[in-house]
């Protein structure tokens, strides 16, 4: 079997090998750029400048950090379970890395456009929860343990709304192939038909990535870094790499599924550089939104977090699937989906409002508070 890459005929395996290498190299560069940009952007959100000392505008900050991390001693606590401890980072890093196989950077610019690409991506990326559990368990540290357990609980809880919302979108496209979902959107991106789906995807994505405001698993002030706590040097940098690579993957997949990827709005016949540029703009917008969220919202409490996933996001996601099914089966106008999505957003808003309301508005807690006061 042969395949064509950059106009050269070559064996399929060689072609895949070259593409994987390109993606790995691009990933390390992008991750470094993301770390730098995150520090700069969060700095600007706090009216600071961010890194400025290393190179022009602090551009070499990530390189300096990487060199420092490589140079640091690789410590392992004496009480740690050696095998689980050492393997745990691979269980976090490899699933993320494997997910790159189906990421559609541009039309024809994925390593493989698998027919079950979306399923593959979700299946692989959910394995990293195991890595967090292993890291937390093996560190022989209470905070790491707590953080690992929280990461797993949160990962499992938010996996379901994430999968179900993406499933709802896949129903509209009639395919799990990311390239086909991207191209099927035509002139109107999925966000118009699935506004609620996009918001739920975005929330679940932040939770999956353990990013603020869902970062209780790795929050410094609560679990002192969570599962990362005992890792140092190169191992810790692999955590960081996996985290930002995952953010990158999710932003690209999100923009492919909801924002029309590299095809919308300029059509699929556009040159590859322009497609990559378009995809870059869209995924950067999503990443910027994630950073903006991090700068804006305080961390959720664990019970709020779990309650939000199970009681609010899950039912809404299943309702979305149901409504999509009705619309597809009975050939109803797609505009109905938009209306339903907007109603769903109102419901989501109401649920959030209710959750943040004062205890007086919630009889259970008010009763508890009263009993506390009398006892």
């Amino acid at each position: 079997m042969t395949a064509e890459f950059l106009g050269i005929e070559m064996p399929v395996l060689l072609e895949a090998f070259i593409k994987v290498n390109i993606v790995v190299l691009a990933m390390t560069v992008v991750v470094m750029a993301l770390i730098y940009l995150e520090r700069k952007i969060i700095g600007r959100f706090q009216m600071r400048l961010g890194p400025t000392r290393t190179g022009p505008f602090g551009l070499l900050q990530s390189i300096a950090d990487a060199l420092k991390l490589v140079g640091k001693e690789d410590l392992r606590p004496t009480g740690a379970d050696p095998w689980v401890f050492e393997l745990s980072i691979y269980f976090i890093f490899v699933p993320v890395f494997v997910g790159f196989v189906v990421v559609p950077f541009a039309i024809g610019w994925e390593i493989r456009a698998l027919e079950l690409g979306l399923l593959y991506l979700l299946a692989t990326s959910s394995v990293s929860g195991l890595g967090f559990a292993m890291a937390g368990w093996a560190s022989d540290n209470r905070y790491a343990m707590l953080g690992g357990l929280r990461a797993v609980a949160q990962g499992v809880a938010y996996e379901i709304p994430l999968v179900v919302t993406l499933l709802a979108v896949a129903m509209l496209s009639g395919s799990l192939n990311l390239r086909e979902i991207m191209l099927d959107q035509g002139t109107v991106p999925n966000i118009v038909w699935q506004p609620l789906g996009f918001i739920m995807f975005y929330i679940a994505m932040l939770a999956e990535l353990n990013r603020a405001p869902f970062d209780i698993a790795v929050g410094e002030s609560e679990t002192a870094g969570g599962p990362h706590i005992e890792f140092s040097g190169i191992r810790w940098s692999m955590f960081q790499l996996a985290e930002y690579a995952h953010l990158w993957i999710m932003s690209i997949v999100g923009s492919a599924i909801f924002l029309g990827g590299s095809a919308w709005p300029l059509g699929e016949d556009l040159g590859t550089p322009f497609q990559l540029l378009l995809m870059g703009i869209k995924s950067s917008a999503l990443i910027f939104l994630a950073m903006w969220t991090r700068a804006s919202l305080p961390r959720l409490r664990i019970d709020q977090l779990m309650g939000f996933a199970w009681k609010v996001l899950m039912p809404l996601a299943f309702i979305q699937v149901l409504v999509n099914g009705f619309v597809i089966v009975y050939d109803l106008p797609l505009l109905l989906l938009t209306v339903q999505g907007l109603i769903g957003i109102v419901v989501l808003n109401w649920a959030i409002q209710r959750a943040v309301a004062r205890p007086a508005g919630r009889p259970g807690i008010a009763a508890w508070a009263a009993s506390e006061a009398t006892s």
């Binding site: 952007i41 700095g43 600007r44 959100f45 706090q46 009216m47 600071r48 400048l49 400025t52 903006w292 969220t293 700068a295 804006s296 919202l297 808003n349 959030i352 409002q353 943040v356």
Partner: protein
């Protein structure tokens, strides 16, 4: 949701504002005239000699004993054919900046307003590789006031 949107707008507006950071080694904030760095001797620009008469008041008052003062007869006094009204004048003066705790007592006890606190950035950026470089002699103590670098300072 209202709260969410408001928080996003707040952070958005801070994002668009100019950062308040001053990039310190390149840009210096202007110091207030009563800024208190290390003590300096002041220079009498009218008769071109230090105000200091070497009276030892500051040396005696200094709680950390960082000063050493030596006095001599003023060769420029009117009785010697000069123009100065100071009979005695400072001969040698050392202040160990490594010891000084910037308490301002020397400035307060001085009868001649001859010593003042350095209110320029040079008083704050005085790190050296050798501790002995922090012991300032008379020339070093006078040079800034002589060059007019110290801002006029009103005693409280």
């Amino acid at each position: 949701m209202k709260g969410l949107i408001r928080s996003f707008l707040t952070t958005g507006s801070t994002f668009l504002r100019k950062p308040v950071t001053r990039e310190y080694p390149e840009t210096h904030r202007e110091l207030p005239e009563r800024d208190r760095a290390f003590p300096l001797l002041l220079w009498d620009q009218d008769v071109h000699e230090p105000f200091c008469t070497g009276c030892h008041a500051c040396e005696r008052a200094c709680p950390v004993e960082c000063m050493t003062v030596m006095m001599k007869d003023n060769p420029a006094h009117t009785s010697q054919g000069g123009t100065s009204s100071r009979r005695k004048i400072i001969d040698k003066f050392w202040i160990d900046y490594g010891r000084c705790m910037r308490c301002n007592i020397c400035v307060e006890v001085c009868n001649f307003d001859a010593i003042g606190m350095n209110n320029t950035w040079s008083g704050h950026e005085s790190s050296t590789a050798d501790r002995l470089d922090l012991v300032m002699d008379l020339q070093q103590l006078l040079s800034q006031s002589r060059a007019g670098a110290v801002k006029p300072w009103i005693a409280p």
